[in-house]
Symmetry: C2
Subunit: 409 residues, 2 copies
């Protein structure tokens, strides 16, 4: 497929508007509310946290995605998560949706809500409602407005994360764009912290949900910053059909083409989120190749990027491969430690470390050089079959501790 990256994020696809404003939700003088809007009704799909403790907006969105008809807007705030907030939290969610519905002249259940930030605090509902009105007034169909929205959903993220791609489908040009934010409490299970995708593709709601659910398994579900699955994890996609392609209603070639574009965008966003994990100095990738089974490869790759000891070694540029073998060993997946190979790889080169059950005679200096880049990869060759998987994390640093020892103040 010819897939073209282009400038922009959630407003790259035709018919999508956005806004990002300062609403003083928890802090003064920072962007902290965002909106995505489509005048054309969208089909929407979503995947949400598997945490038993679900934030109020997650409960709201599940209802809208599962039982609502058409979606027109998403309202997001950063600073306060609206999780563990009881009945009042649910009521505030509804009041946010009502305010947006009134201002946009759409139904209340056409509005998705998402929150991120500290758990347990109640939203300042008056500022939220005022923020919604300001968002509606300032919305634009421009790339700049999309970027503002991407910045407004950030918490401890150091960079905003947005991407857009374009591809041809039976004569129509389809655009898919997205944005997401991390960067702590990231260990998605079913989906990730907050991610929003927009496309002008014409596709049925069922096929859209299927594509999203299928793809997160290998993208957002394969990253981890700290092993903590959030109460607010939300990934939603809105498709307004304005590209004019023939509606996708089954798993045909067009669907598979879309799945490729979706995989490209989700992989890019997921890696960005992992690399911008709280306090991180490096994106830490693990690729397991030549596995017997796909799930085996996934479990092994994820176990390595989740290991605190391995992550600390990556921070120290220390080729402490024993910790990698150890993390594979306790993952629960089968493999033969005596018949595999382990490499470190980065822009600076690729180096074989372990073979036939023990370390090869590699140069520690060379290994440290490879590990000193800001994107490093462990390649594990199981020499068993033809399946593979990748997982993405980051190093464990002083700054992770610093950020989280006193996050609330």
């Amino acid at each position: 497929m010819k897939l073209k990256e282009k400038t922009g994020g959630v407003t790259a696809a035709k018919g999508f508007w956005a806004a990002g404003i300062e609403a003083a939700i928890k802090y003064q003088n920072r962007l902290d509310m965002a909106m995505i809007y489509s005048e054309i009704p969208c089909v929407a799909a979503g995947v949400f946290t598997s945490n038993l403790v679900k934030a109020a907006p997650v409960l709201w969105d599940k209802e809208v995605v599962e039982n609502g008809e058409a979606v027109h807007a998403v309202i997001v705030n950063s600073g306060i998560a609206n999780a563990c907030t009881g009945e009042q939290g649910l009521d505030y969610c509804k009041r946010t949706a009502t305010a947006a519905a009134d201002a946009l002249s759409v139904k209340e259940n056409a509005v998705l809500i998402a929150s991120t930030g500290v758990i347990g605090m109640q939203l300042p509902i008056d500022r939220i409602v005022a923020g919604v009105e300001q968002l509606v007034k300032s919305k634009e169909e421009t790339l700049a407005a999309g970027s503002l929205a991407a910045r407004a959903i950030m918490t401890t993220d150091t960079v905003s994360k947005e991407i857009a791609v374009e591809f041809e489908l039976e004569g129509a040009t389809i655009t898919l764009g997205g944005m997401c934010k991390g960067s702590g409490m990231i260990h998605p299970n079913m989906c990730t912290m907050l991610g929003f995708l927009t496309t002008d593709l014409a596709i049925s709601k069922e096929m859209l949900q299927q594509a999203l659910s299928e793809n997160v398994v290998d993208t957002f579900n394969m990253i981890s910053v700290d092993g903590d699955t959030s109460t607010n994890d939300t990934l939603v996609i809105m498709a307004n059909g304005s590209a004019g392609n023939e509606m996708i209603t089954e798993k045909n070639d067009a669907y598979l083409l879309f799945l490729q574009a979706l995989n490209y965008v989700n992989t890019w966003l997921a890696k960005k989120m992992a690399g911008d994990g709280e306090g991180a100095t490096a994106l830490f990738e693990t690729k397991v190749i030549h596995a017997d089974k796909k799930e085996q490869a996934r479990v092994l790759a994820k176990s390595v990027i989740c290991s605190s000891l391995t992550k600390a070694a990556i921070f120290g540029h220390d080729a402490n491969w024993g910790r990698i073998l150890c993390a594979m060993g306790y993952s629960g997946a089968q493999f033969n430690p005596d018949c595999m190979e382990l490499f470190f790889e980065s822009r600076a080169g690729k180096i074989l470390i372990y073979q036939n059950g023990k370390a090869v005679d590699y140069s520690e200096e060379e290994a440290t050089r490879v590990l000193s880049e800001n994107e490093v990869t462990v390649v594990v060759d199981l020499k068993q079959g033809n399946e593979e998987a990748a997982a993405w994390g980051c190093d464990l640093t002083y700054d992770y501790v610093k950020i989280n020892a006193d996050y609330r103040s």
Copy 2:
């Protein structure tokens, strides 16, 4: 039961000798080899790492414990783990046992071996063999010798960990003593890093194994420093029968009495290990009470003490209770967040934080005061049934990162 703590560790029980020496295994001028010895043949039981990648000494000990007849000695080195060392590692294990067997005039399969330290490096076998001879020469039946052994097995531990207790059993006085070491790669599954228990109790091998296996579930398996299950986890117990009680061969009252003593010693050692986790400034305990099921209580308690975010908050003395709810929520165990209570507790007092689905109006200042002690407890009252469990971890600190970013140099 009247259980009396007494001075000492592995040499507190009658008939046990010990030694600790400097053998320059990886570093100069530090104690790094230890021995426990009983002239009277012992029955031995052990639990070992569940990691698929098992260190050579773990493979050796499993064979001895499962198929050997009587055990006389344990030889331990710190500095190098003898894990991921292939055939040569297994051979070095055998040569260590042979050296000890020759010097002590016992059978080779009467010698247990344990190693801890860096993975992947080969042992300096000549210094090991010389060390064994020195250990045998310097062994003593004194409490001081037991303390030397407890110090010699340390790696990044900041304090040595030994305990002994005494209790009466049908007219005989039984002593049970033990020592253990942490303090990184601690997330035991089946047992812990390295722990050694000695007792003069008369008990059959089957009952000894049963008691140990049953008890680790609620003691060593309930601690975690960093979520990494080591390749070397080993906990062994030796019983030489010299106390003269009637041999325990079934689950009678005497067995239950011994199980209480074992639980006391293992809980004490496990908590010491958690509180002395790498870089830790505090022991972090979580107690789940009034649960429906024991396993539910265990899973919830362990999920909380394993959460990186919660551990960082404990380091910051920050009452970030939302992270605790979050960690309970992703644990996989069921509970009702709307009908539970959460307290922080320490020497400085006990404070209710969360009730009926949301935070109570507590004082942050008071909460920080409670959390500023070096032993802090989260109490979760599920208000469901009568089961409970406790788990022990430590805070996540700058020093954890420092220690592990450059452990090998």
